[in-house]
Structures are given as C-alpha cells and as structure tokens.
Subunit: 168 residues, 2 copies
DNA sequence: GCAGAATACATCCATTTGGATCAATTGTCC
DNA sequence: GGACAATTGATCCAAATGGATGTATTCTGC
C-alpha cells in the first residue's frame, strides 16, 4: 500500500495520521482518534484525582441532570455494559454521593438522587472537565463547534447507532 | 435541575439524551456518546468473530496501511497505553498475521509488516467494518460527512488533544 | 568517548472489565 | 388468574487492562 516500503522508509506520524483519516475507514478512524486521545487525558485525570472511573462521575453527572432516573436510563446516555453502570452506581452510593429511593410503580428499579456530597463533588469535577472541553475544542470556531455538535446529534439520533444489521 | 423531580417523573431516554447534549458538556457528551455506542457494536463484533480486541485489528490495519512502521507509530494513530499496543502486536505476530524485521538504524525498534495471512484476515474484517461505518453514518449526507470529517481532523490536529494544561 | 538521560519494547501484578448468570419483579397472552 | 417471557439490577469469575518496572539500545552534553 506504500511505495516507501521498498525504500525501507515510513511517513512520519503526522503524515500517517493524515493518511489514515483519508482511508476507507476515515470517518470511523477520525472520530475514534479524537475520543480515544481525549480519554487518555480526561479519564485518567479524574481516576487519579478522585479515584473513580469515568462511568462513575458521568453517572453522577447524569443523576444530577435528571434526579430520579434509574440505572437503566444512565445506560442509554452512556452506552456501556449493564454491570459497569451497576458498579458505578454502587460506588457512588457507597461513598454517599448518591441516594437510592424506591420507585413507586416498580419494585425492581430504584430512583437515584444526588446527595449534597454528590453535588459538591460535581462542582469540583465539572470546572476541570469544562476547561478540558474548551482546551480540546479550541481549534474550532464557535460556528464550527455548533456544526460539529449538530452532526454528532444527528449521528446519535440515527436508529442504527446502537444496534446493527451488518454486525449481528 | 429538573422540575419533574417534584412530580416524581423523569423525561424519557430520548429527551434525556437531547438535554445532556445541550448541557455545558454538550460537545464532549455528544461525541463520546457516538463513539461509545458504536464501540459496543463494532468492537464486540470482531472480538467474537475473530477473538481479538479492537487494538489488534486496528494495529493490523495500520501495519497494512504503512508497512514497516514501528509499534511506537501505531500508538500515535490509536492513542492507547503502550503495553496495550505491545500486546496487540504480540498477538498478531503470534498468530502469524504480522512479521517483525530488524530496523537497520535502531536495534531497539522493529519494523512491522503484514503477512499474507494478515492481509487475508484484513480482507475479511474490512468489508464488515466498512459496512458498519456506512450504517452508522447513514444519517449524514455526503456533504455532511465531509464536514464532519474535516472538523474531526481539525480537532485531531489541535496541539492540546493529546496533552493538557488544565489536566496535569 | 563516556556518563546520564531518553527511547523502544516487554513483562509483572493488582485491579478492572464484561459476558454470563442469578434473584426479584413486572408484563403478556390465553 | 396462571404460565411464560421480559425487565431491573446484583454478582461471579475468567480474562483484559494499565501503571510501574525491567532490559536493551540510542541520544546528548561535555
């Protein structure tokens, strides 16, 4: 695939990145690269600072945004395995950041609410994550960010994002 | 944050997704959601079909795109921990999909090349992944896809994507 | 050309992950 | 209303993960 193979050379990293984002899988490669690269920063940072995995603080964020939601709902917002969410919620409850309440109509599910401690933790985490978002989106203008967001939302709204015909 | 808390109700999943993509962290939430949701499909599929983690087949893809690259270079394309790449390459070498060759100028590094078996495996995997890409990007028009790609590339080219001032 | 820093990759090991399963409850169909 | 399927969340356990460290080699400053 590369003439330089014969010459025993390889393009430098920047060129390789450019070219892989020009390959058949360019859309997938490009967006995955962006998210993977950022995860190395954001996820590791909060893991170290607060000894909690991504899914824990993002669950807390979801619970604070929508007090009373169920674990099940978090899974829709952050598509991860069910037991991952279950454990994240257990961690938050165990540390007193989230409180569970019986859901009147359904004895299986529990409604989740942030505690004052949970809200305080979020107020500590959110400024850092917001600053990181600003840092990573700095290359885009305001208009470009809105375009990017609109396109992501369009992808998220697509019916085949979370299930597949081509991959059983 | 939500008046329905008093009423003991929660918005449905679709509305929650909309609203979290309208919050302060909307850009991060939106793009992460898209990638996470797709990973649940694509990664798991190839794990089952070919008993290999994402990083293995994407390393193979990189090696086929740029024959002769080093493990180090793969890490630039797919930002993951170093030992993750190391193991992925070891798996590919162990299964005979990749062959290592001494790099003349540097005895530490190894040049990586796909074997016929590796290329054959890729020809089996790529159609499925390409079809999946098509499936997930179906909501976007051709022009929108190019816009999305251009914005992702702009983000990837940003100097602060892979390192951070705000997150030590 | 030599000492110390840096790089490339492999490996160790405690922790995390996720598929599978379980228990409890609710929904559906007749 | 009773049997069977579906849902909600917890837990089990084999396997993967990633930070730290090790080994070998190359680069840098003097």
């Amino acid at each position: 695939m590369d003439d330089r193979q014969a010459a025993g050379e390889c393009p430098d990293a920047g060129q390789m990145l450019d070219r892989i984002m020009d390959s058949d899988l360019r859309y997938l490669m490009a967006v995955s690269h962006v998210v993977l690269a950022n995860n190395q920063i954001t996820d590791r940072f909060i893991e170290r600072r607060h000894a909690m995995p991504v899914q824990a603080w993002s669950s807390l964020y979801a619970i604070a945004c929508f007090p009373g939601l169920r674990a099940r709902d978090i899974q829709v917002l952050f598509p991860r395995p069910q037991n991952t969410i279950s454990r994240a919620v257990a961690l938050l409850v165990g540390r007193g950041h989230v409180r569970e309440e019986a859901l009147p109509g359904d004895a299986r599910a529990k409604r989740l609410f942030p505690t004052p401690s949970g809200l305080a933790l979020l107020e500590e985490i959110l400024p850092a994550v917001t600053a990181r978002q600003e840092e990573m989106f700095a290359p885009l203008s305001g208009a470009e960010r809105e375009t990017f967001l609109a396109l992501c939302r369009k992808l998220a709204a697509g019916p085949m994002l979370g299930r597949s015909r081509v991959m059983g």
